[in-house]
Subunit: 199 residues, 2 copies
C-alpha cells in the first residue's frame, strides 16, 4: 500500500509518500514541502497548491491519502488557510476515487512516538528511525507529512470524515471499491444522482 | 463580462452565472445549488463538489469568480465545511487563471439592496428585479450566489484575497493578465518557481 501524507497549509504544505512493507515496515518514496508566496492572493496560492498536489497524485499514485485533521478551535489567524488547503487536497484526491483518511496531531504523535505530546524533535527522530533514513528528512517541516503517512499505516482502520467521532474504516472502503473505480456503490449512486441533477 | 457567484458550502453550494450588459444591467445565464449527501464522508463530498464546479467552469467559462468571504468567527459547526468548500472552488478557478474576488455577506447585501442588513426576502426580491426574472430564482437558496455575482459587477474594483483589509483590484488583475494566460507576470514567475522547485 502506498500512502500520501498531507500536512495542509498555504504557506507550507507538507507532502510525504511511503510504501508499506511486510511486518509493519515502511519505506520512504518521496517527501517535499510545497510553498506558496505569502504576498500572493489566496486564490492564486490555492491554484498553485492544486497544481502541485495533482502532480504528486499523478506521479506517485497513492492508494490512500492521509490528511491532518484541522479543528475549528485552532489559531484563528491560520485556520482559514489551513482549512482551505485541506479542503482542496481532499477534494482533488476524492474525485480520483482515492480514499482520504484524517488523523489528529495527537493521534499522529501517539502512533509514531508512543506519546500524544511528543515534541517536534522526538517526532523527527522517530520518523528518521522508522523509515531507516541516514539523516532527518528534508526540508525539516516535511517530517510531519511522513508521520501522518506512518500513522495511517500503523493505525490500520483509520478514522475518516471531518466530524470527530464519525469514525469510518477507510481500508474497508478501499477494499470495497469496485476495480477501476474509487467510490463504493452507494457513493457512485450519489455521485450519479448529483451529476444527473446538475447536468 | 461573465461572473460566476459562489455561495460555498458542503451541504448546499450555490452557483449563479450572470452576464454584464451596458448601463450596469445584468442578465441571468444559469443558477443552481449543488448538494452533496450529508451522510457521505467529507472527502467524497468535496470530490463531488470539485467535479460539479469544474463542469460549471467548463460550461460557462466565467471571466471572474466571486466567492463569499468566510470568516473564522462564523458558526464553528459549519465553518470547516464552508472553508473547505471555498478553498476548493477558489483553487479550481485560480488554476485556470480565472481571477477570484471575495465579498462579505454585508457587502453583498449593501450592493444589492442598499442595506447591509437586508433579510433573505429583500435579497431575493432585489435579485429577481435586477435580473428581470418573472419569478424568484429557483432553488430559493440559489439567490445568494446570484447576489454575489451582482455585487461583484456593481462594486467594480472588488476586494480579493482572504485577508480583510488587503483589498486588491481584481478587475485590474483581469485586464493585466497576458492573452491566453490567467496569471499576471509576477504570478507566473512564482508559479514557475514553485513548479521548478517541486519537479
Amino acid at each position: 500500500m502506498r500512502i500520501l501524507g498531507v500536512d495542509p497549509g498555504l504557506t507550507r504544505c507538507g507532502l510525504g509518500v511511503i510504501d508499506s512493507r511486510p511486518a509493519r515496515q515502511a519505506a520512504l518514496v518521496a517527501v517535499d514541502v510545497v510553498r506558496t508566496p505569502s504576498h500572493a492572493d489566496v486564490d492564486v496560492r490555492l491554484g498553485l497548491l492544486a497544481d502541485a498536489f495533482d502532480r504528486w497524485l499523478d506521479e506517485h499514485r497513492p492508494d490512500v491519502v492521509a490528511v491532518e485533521r484541522v479543528f475549528a478551535r485552532n489559531d484563528v489567524s491560520t485556520i482559514m488557510g489551513t482549512a482551505q488547503a485541506s479542503g482542496l487536497t481532499m477534494g482533488l484526491a476524492a474525485r480520483r476515487g482515492i480514499p482520504v483518511a484524517m488523523h489528529t496531531p495527537s493521534e499522529v504523535k501517539a502512533a509514531v512516538t508512543g506519546s500524544g505530546r511528543a515534541d517536534k524533535k522526538q517526532m523527527t527522530r522517530m520518523v528518521t528511525r522508522i523509515l531507516k533514513l541516514e539523516s532527518p528528512p528534508k526540508p525539516a517541516d516535511a517530517a510531519d507529512a511522513l508521520a501522518l503517512a506512518i500513522c495511517h499505516l500503523w493505525r490500520g482502520a483509520a478514522s475518516s470524515g471531518s466530524t470527530p467521532g464519525a469514525a469510518k474504516d477507510v481500508d474497508a472502503r478501499l477494499a470495497a471499491r469496485p476495480a477501476g473505480a474509487g467510490l463504493t456503490k452507494a457513493q457512485q449512486a450519489w455521485a450519479e444522482a448529483i451529476r444527473a441533477a446538475s447536468s
